[in-house]
């Protein structure tokens, strides 16, 4: 049984990194534009379907398909920002309403294009790695490494590069950042587009692991928001940690408790944490 538990902890970490990349998008968008973009799940769906399309139908190599899918999600994010989100900056309610409306539009579009019949991408990396009774599919491990690398690079970029520092400065004090010459409008658009690209990247890796349906984004945006709140909104590496904690809680919880209520285990854990740390695990308590 110990090996089964260890196996599920590892599985939870891997799955949690997928929640983490969405959480990263949520936390960045909220910090810079003041809106919670619930439609990020749908940008993930765009990335997933695009990867499936480019790999299985256009017969492109998987890495090329991922790059194209991320680019497509970014372009879709740019269009959404210029057509919709730029009118809702720093207005939580309007931003929320627009993103919810966008969910319907994007999901209906996907239904029209791909129907509800699940799409199952051809296996990219077959086989598993086994250690005793622990078996981990290779693709899951590769996806985890890629996700951690992208989240890590994002964190590095935001903490080391000028643009990253400008972004953080804007998040802390918009007026002061503007006075220091930070191009705020461009920055806000850039963050929305980048978070959509991140979601698209998450979707591309999702497509290599799970079957696709137009409604796939709904579940993952909820997990992403949960992970962001669990970590404390605004904390970039915390987003990954929040996702991982959520993933492990769900995976291990399902082993000992009925699997039928899997989503509830993460939520109960979230509520328990918020009772003691209202700003999240890594958020500032002030």
């Amino acid at each position: 049984m110990t090996q089964v538990v260890v196996g599920q902890i590892l599985n939870g970490i891997i799955l949690g990194s997928l929640y983490g990349i969405i959480a990263l998008g949520v936390t960045m968008t909220f910090g810079i534009t003041g809106i919670v973009n619930f439609a990020l799940g749908q940008f993930m769906m765009i990335g997933a379907y695009a990867t499936w399309y480019f790999t299985d139908l256009a017969m492109l190599p998987f890495p090329v398909a991922v790059v194209l899918a991320v680019a497509l999600a970014a372009v879709a994010g740019l269009i959404a920002d210029q057509a919709l989100f730029r009118f809702t900056r720093n207005n939580l309610v309007n931003g929320l309403l627009v993103s919810i409306g966008l969910i319907s539009v994007m999901e209906s579009g996907a239904l029209l294009l791909f129907t509800t019949t699940p799409k199952n991408m051809d296996i990219v990396i077959a086989g598993s790695w086994s250690l005793g009774a622990i078996t981990l599919p290779r693709m899951k491990v590769v996806a985890f490494l890629l996700l951690v690398a992208v989240i890590g690079l994002t964190w590095l970029g935001l903490s080391r590069a000028w643009l990253g520092r400008a972004t953080r400065a804007y998040a802390q004090n918009p007026e002061a950042a503007m006075l220091m010459g930070v191009p705020t409008k461009l920055l806000q658009t850039g963050v929305v587009v980048y978070s959509c690209a991140l979601a698209g990247f998450g979707g591309a890796l999702y497509a290599s692991l799970f079957s696709l349906e137009p409604s796939l984004g709904g579940l993952f945006i909820l997990k992403g928001v949960e992970a962001a709140i669990l970590a404390g909104v605004g904390n970039l590496l915390g987003a990954l940690a929040g996702g991982v904690i959520l993933g492990v809680t769900e995976s291990v919880g399902s082993l000992y408790l009925p699997s039928a209520f899997r989503d509830a285990y993460g939520l109960v854990f979230l509520v328990a944490i918020l009772l003691f740390r209202p700003a999240g695990l890594f958020g500032s308590q002030k």
Partner: protein
């Protein structure tokens, strides 16, 4: 003067046209359909909602159908419930009260049927509902529920397809332990309750686990099941979950032998190189049937022409096709009963007749459909054996 003459002439033309319009309206039979064409559990509804429009189109293009001296055309009002029971209740209300529809196809989802049931029951005797949902079994054939006919083989009982499936499994694989993994909802619970006694009666030990709707990562529950060391994994019930269960079970080395009574051959074919056994119930193996059965060939061609896309052999054309047959079966019942309005007469005729379309369809004493089906047995590499069963 000239303009007033034109006005009289136009009025006269309109007056002449109105009776014709009125008689054209009376020569239409409205068919309603409430199915989940979209949403996470839409696989059955989506597929079944494709069969009916093809049949309606064919009938209308052929000039309609005759009952007595009148020729009728069909009008289909197909609504998408999205699997939402509340939405379905509103849609059924619209169909019955506004559109005055007397024949409703669907639903295939149990949770939808259970919710619309109290409302639908108020119209008992005034309309006919032809639904495939698993839980319709509990209601059909009961006094006061004459409005509903279940359009699917029931799993248990002497003619139950599930019994035949388990017999096949016992005969070919002699399993000692079977683990069941179903979605935690009405349909999943009924499956668990139905199949536990069927396996027990054959001396097979079972374990049942339920998963949350929308689950994508099945590793934890599969790991839990693997501790039971089942000979076969029996997952259900829609392809949206089955694709992931089958793949993750094989990749995680949890189980490579599968037994299914809901779902399609798709998940097995997709993972054909990794699996050892994949035994699945399909109402018809279309790939084989279209070579031998002209009616099936006609349907496949009609599907391709109507939707301008390939026929989804690996999915559940099962449902779409059975609903296609149901339109013709209903017309045959109307013609035999000599009416398109007397619902009770049409119902009695329908239940007493045998319709030979793509399937040979009849009904048991419980008002549930009985029809022939196939057991598809996939082995490693996708080698396929098909066994035809006449219940």
């Amino acid at each position: 003067m000239k303009s007033s003459f034109k006005g009289y002439f136009a009025a006269a033309l309109l007056a002449a046209a109105v009776p014709n319009l009125a008689s054209a309206q009376t020569a239409t039979v409205k068919l309603g359909q409430i199915e989940a064409q979209t949403g996470p559990n839409a696989i059955y509804g989506y597929m079944s909602s494709q069969g009916v429009p093809i049949a309606v189109d064919e009938v209308n293009k052929a000039g309609g159908f005759k009952v007595g001296d009148t020729t009728y055309k069909l009008e289909l009002i197909a609504l998408d419930t999205r699997g939402d029971p509340k939405e379905a209740t509103i849609q059924l209300k619209k169909l019955l009260e506004q559109d005055k529809v007397k024949f409703v196809f669907g639903p295939f989802l149990s949770n939808v049927f259970v919710t619309i049931y109290p409302y639908a029951k108020q119209f008992n005797g005034k309309f006919l509902m032809l639904g495939g949902g698993t839980r319709i079994h509990e209601y059909v054939g009961q006094p006061g529920n004459e409005f509903v006919i279940r359009t699917w083989n029931w799993d248990a009982g002497p003619k139950g397809f599930g019994e035949k499936m388990v017999d096949y499994l016992v005969k070919t694989a002699h399993p000692k332990k079977v683990a069941m993994l179903f979605q935690n909802d009405s349909g999943g619970k009924v499956l668990g309750d139905t199949y536990e006694p069927i396996f027990k009666a054959r001396g097979i030990e079972t374990m049942t686990e339920y998963f949350e709707p929308g689950t994508k990562d099945f590793s934890p529950v599969l790991a839990k099941i693997a501790e039971f060391h089942p000979d076969y994994l029996f997952p259900g019930y829609s392809d949206a979950a089955l694709y992931d269960i089958v793949r993750q079970s094989i990749e995680g080395n949890y189980s490579k032998k599968f037994f299914l009574v809901r779902g399609s051959t798709g998940p097995g074919m997709k993972n054909k190189d990794g699996l050892e056994d994949y035994i699945v119930y399909v109402p018809k193996d279309f790939e084989e049937a279209e070579k031998k059965e002209p009616k099936v060939k006609h349907f496949v061609d009609a599907y391709k022409a109507f939707y301008k896309r390939d026929f989804p052999y690996d999915q559940a054309p099962l449902c779409s096709s059975s609903c296609y047959d149901h339109v013709y079966m209903l017309i045959a019942a109307m013609q035999k009963a000599g009416t398109v309005d007397d619902v009770e007469k049409i119902r009695t005729t329908l239940l007493s007749m045998t319709y030979e379309g793509m399937w040979k369809i009849s009904f048991d004493d419980h008002n549930e459909q009985v029809f022939d089906f196939d057991i598809v047995h996939l082995k490693k590499g996708g080698v396929k054996e098909v066994t035809h069963v006449e219940p």
